[in-house]
């Protein structure tokens, strides 16, 4: 891990050395940061606040102990783990387990729960992810003129071959396997453990590894800001529209025209498979977007 970031670090430093203007700006920024950290270190080291620090530590430990005691006291009132007479084992669970496969057609009952019975909650989760990604874009995205962008691409082409050799060859083996595993988890969400969120995260992690091994230019050939936008918005809209359909048919007691299929087949269980794919792409784009924005302030 350290090696990846060292090579990234070297690469970023190299780009900035070449560009005098950017370099100067960067230097100013670095200087500002350094002054700030030095001031904080001075305050910490000068011993002005030693009394306060001692007081702070004692109060923090006391407060932590009180909270831990409260929580352990609360836990002692909980029913024991796995007891069949627990209040959680009531008729609701029984009804879901008995009718689950018939209603949803999903063998993995967790997927049936979160994407059929409780699909509205999952829509909320996807919206939260979308809003989080949008906020990070608002905060960190750096708008560049076309000339700046071109110059940066040229600079990067110079350093393309200087990425770490071991990292590149390792990524060549690992990235395809990870991507395929992510797609497998995504498409088998209704049959085996996994589903949209985990599969999307695995795909996003594969994209991140590819990007840190092969650089920006080669990633941009298949994944850039425009594609990112299109995938995210279309996935979320499809999810919302299909939920709208479910609500309208459900509220008016109309029979849904989407068949549940034979439980256990890959293409079965109605809307769960397309919804899983939507959530997966949404999550993958969000994860890669976070990484890219944190690292280079662009996608």
């Amino acid at each position: 891990m350290n090696k990846i970031f060292k090579s990234l670090n070297d690469f970023v430093n190299g780009v900035q050395d070449e560009k005098e203007n950017v370099h100067l700006k960067h230097k100013n920024k670095k200087h500002h940061e350094k002054v700030l950290t030095e001031r904080i270190e001075d305050i910490v080291e000068s011993g002005e606040n030693k009394g306060f620090n001692k007081f702070y530590n004692v109060i923090a430990i006391l407060l932590a102990c009180v909270i831990i005691a409260c929580m352990i006291y609360t836990v002692s009132f909980l029913p024991s783990f796995g007891d069949p007479t627990n209040p959680a084992n009531n008729e609701v669970v029984q009804a879901y387990i008995e009718n689950g496969i018939r209603d949803t057609g999903a063998v993995n009952f967790v997927a049936g729960m979160i994407l059929n019975y409780r699909a509205f909650d999952t829509l909320g989760e996807s919206t939260v992810l979308f809003i989080a990604a949008t906020t990070v874009i608002i905060l960190l995205f750096k708008h560049k003129t076309k000339e700046e962008e071109k110059a940066e691409q040229l600079e990067e082409a110079k350093y393309e071959d200087k990425h770490d050799l071991i990292l590149r060859h390792g990524a060549l083996i690992v990235v395809p396997a990870t991507l395929v595993f992510g797609v497998y988890v995504l498409f088998n969400g209704h049959l085996s453990p996994g589903g949209g969120f985990s599969g999307g995260t695995i795909m996003g992690a594969a994209l991140i590894l590819y990007n840190s091994a092969f650089g920006d230019n080669s990633t941009k050939t298949f994944f850039n800001y425009g594609i990112h936008k299109v995938i995210k918005i279309s996935a979320l809209s499809f999810y919302a529209l299909s939920q709208l359909y479910s609500f309208i048919t459900g509220a008016n007691l109309i029979e849904s025209i989407i068949p549940n299929g034979i439980a256990g087949n890959l293409i079965s269980s109605g809307l769960i498979l397309p919804l899983n794919i939507c959530v997966g792409f949404e999550v993958a784009c969000t994860m890669f977007g976070f990484y890219s924005l944190f690292d280079r302030e662009e996608i």
Binding site: M1, N2, F5, K6, L8, N9, E33, N108, V110, V185, P193, G194, G195, F197, S198, T201, I202, G204, A205, I208, M287, F290, Y291, F294, D295
Partner: protein
């Protein structure tokens, strides 16, 4: 099998405490990643493989990458500053 779970939970406790105690940010981050991995194994023992996959991918993968980038941005990744601390 129950003893394996005890060992894992003990490891979890040790990790959780040492994350706050270590001075070096990089080291505490690596311990945090180990914590997430052990947590995902414990989810497997608790018969929730869905959560285990998500924990391994998010907790041990993406979150630690974001933390590493943040560390790099605030300049705590280089060897020089590590030896200063």
């Amino acid at each position: 099998m129950i003893y394996v779970q005890y060992i894992l939970i003990l490891f979890l406790l040790v990790c959780a405490i040492s994350v706050c105690v270590t001075n070096n940010l990089l080291v505490s981050l690596i311990i945090f990643t180990a914590y997430s991995l052990v947590m995902s194994v414990i989810w497997l023992f608790l018969e929730s493989p869905d959560l285990a996959i998500t924990e391994a991918a998010v907790g041990a993968g993406v979150t630690s990458i974001l933390f590493f980038i943040t560390l790099k941005k605030v300049g705590k990744m280089t060897d020089k500053e590590d030896s200063d601390e």
